[in-house]
């Protein structure tokens, strides 16, 4: 039986007569006794987000999921279209399922879509995504001395991140999608 210890972001759980997908979780342990997993889950049928505390030793029912590698194609604002990298089949995923991660998407990016009975339940981004810097202010002499070690950069999909001052327009960088922060410069 799956246990709450196996919970990850994107795990789908059958609970209380509904299908839920885990959006966030955290292990918590009291000074003594069982440990718990504080689980924030979204109800797939109505979009409501609830928090439940599951004891590590409880039995849970995980829903059968298919995970597909898909390429992001385009969005019309409320739906995002992806293409199966193997079968070239296209699917539409609604805004609510993509959530805040929409800002990281760019054409051709490969993501993992979790499917349940033919429906997209969640989308998982790669840990790091590469972008080109389309604009950033040139570094000004004295910036380091005054403690300004970072500046804002706009990336090729419109995302804005803080980057070190030594970077220039046209540089390629990777962004950590877990933290939303600049990760490293990619040498071309």
């Amino acid at each position: 039986m799956p246990s709450p210890n196996d919970i990850k972001k994107g795990t789908a759980i059958n609970y209380d007569g509904s299908l839920w997908v885990v959006v966030d979780f955290q292990r918590v342990s009291p000074g003594k006794g069982s440990s718990f997993v504080r689980t924030k889950m979204k109800n797939i049928s109505n979009g409501k987000v609830n928090e439940y505390n599951f004891k590590s030793s409880e039995n849970l029912t995980f829903a059968d999921m298919q995970y597909k590698k898909m390429q992001y194609l385009f969005s019309d604002g409320s739906f995002f279209t992806f293409m199966d990298s193997v079968s070239f089949e296209q699917i539409s995923v609604d805004e609510g399922t993509v959530g805040d991660d929409a800002k990281y998407l760019k054409e051709g990016l490969e993501v993992t879509i979790a499917m349940h009975e033919g429906n997209a339940i969640s989308m998982t981004l790669p840990m790091r995504i590469e972008y080109d810097i389309t604009y950033t202010e040139p570094a000004v002499k004295g910036d380091t001395a005054s403690g300004n070690v970072s500046k804002e950069a706009e990336l090729d999909n419109g995302l804005k991140v803080k980057v070190p001052i030594f970077l220039n327009t046209g540089d390629r960088i990777s962004v950590n999608t877990d933290t939303g922060e600049y990760s490293e410069r990619i040498s071309k």
Partner: protein
């Protein structure tokens, strides 16, 4: 973008403040071992396991400490009066980020002859000394008994609570329970949902835990609660303190229970630290001990959102490259 210089200077300021604070109060700093035979018996913890190998090939199973507690208590049993240590401790299967890192810095301090309420005041004095060093203003520190918190937030009186009334209260409040829940589990569900969740930003000491939640504490006079407290600031748990149990046979019983729980959970069962049990009865009553997470104090002092922002090399950067 990480400012290494700033993070390092802040850590230095924090450690200097802690050391000055305890030296001025007559405490001696001690160094305790990181690689030991019994790294901790708590059923919830996953110690890092390793093997000590002698030159002739003789092997000793070992682990990295989850807390310097056993070593510190041995020093008390051997006659030291007031000690503190600043050390790395290790806990596997923790999150990489948020408030957690698998290795983190712990301050532990112990004082023989004083009770946990004195320790509570001392903890407030210490945090205020740190805040002063960081030129940060802290509001008043609240003090809240666990019983009062549950009475107010969940409408249940722990003095008279039973597993049945605890479960009924969970049901009434719409809190998920499981058929296998023990009294301790049911209490903790209520505590998590109704108390810990909205402790607010101001510092608050939570104290006198139900005895099933106070493994190493002496009991209050009515015998219902363990003399244990925790300090929360901005919803973060900063420390866990006990008026220490000095009863060797009772401690052996609790270790044996924990060993059994570990076995049932399929976890490594480490040998009971016999030297600790021998020295424990030589400790005075009362004596207190407190364990405080230094990284989290630095987070509070510098308004950092994640533990990663106060570590030069957070585990998330070391291990979550892809």
């Amino acid at each position: 973008m990480k400012n290494f210089q700033k993070i390092a200077e802040e850590r230095q300021l924090l450690n200097d403040t802690i050391r000055s604070f305890f030296r001025a109060r007559g405490f001696v700093e001690v160094e305790t071992p990181l690689v030991v035979r019994s790294p901790g018996m708590e059923p919830n913890l996953f110690p890092f396991e390793t093997v000590v190998i002698e030159p002739d090939g003789k092997r000793h199973n070992a682990g990295l400490i989850t807390s310097p507690e056993y070593a510190c208590k041995k020093l008390l049993g051997a006659g030291m009066q007031k000690i503190f240590t600043i050390t790395k401790v290790f806990r596997n299967q923790e999150e990489l980020g948020g408030n957690h890192n698998p290795e983190f810095s712990m301050l532990e301090w112990y004082n023989q002859g004083e009770g946990y309420l004195e320790c509570m005041q001392e903890t407030e004095d210490l945090i205020r000394a740190c805040a002063k060093a960081f030129q940060k203003k802290l509001p008043v520190f609240h003090r809240l008994r666990v019983r009062d918190a549950l009475l107010e937030k969940a409408g249940i009186d722990l003095d008279e609570a039973t597993p049945e009334t605890l479960r009924a209260t969970c049901d009434k409040l719409g809190i998920h329970t499981d058929p296998t829940d023990t009294e301790s589990d049911l209490f903790y569900r209520l505590f998590l949902e109704r108390v810990e969740k909205d402790l607010g930003e101001e510092p608050v000491f939570i104290y006198d835990y139900p005895k099933h939640q106070a493994a190493l504490a002496r009991l209050t006079d009515d015998g219902n609660y363990g003399k244990r407290f925790e300090l929360y600031i901005d919803g973060k748990e900063l420390c866990n303190a006990f008026e220490e149990l000095t009863d060797g046979p009772e401690q052996r019983l609790r270790f044996e229970e924990e060993a059994k729980e570990r076995e049932e959970l399929g976890k490594t069962v480490f040998p009971i630290d016999e030297e600790l049990l021998t020295l424990l009865p030589s400790m005075q009553n009362p004596s207190y001990g407190n364990a405080l997470g230094i990284d989290r104090v630095q987070m509070i002092m510098t308004d950092a959102q994640s533990i990663k922002d106060v570590l030069l090399f957070p585990a998330a950067d070391l291990f979550k490259k892809e």
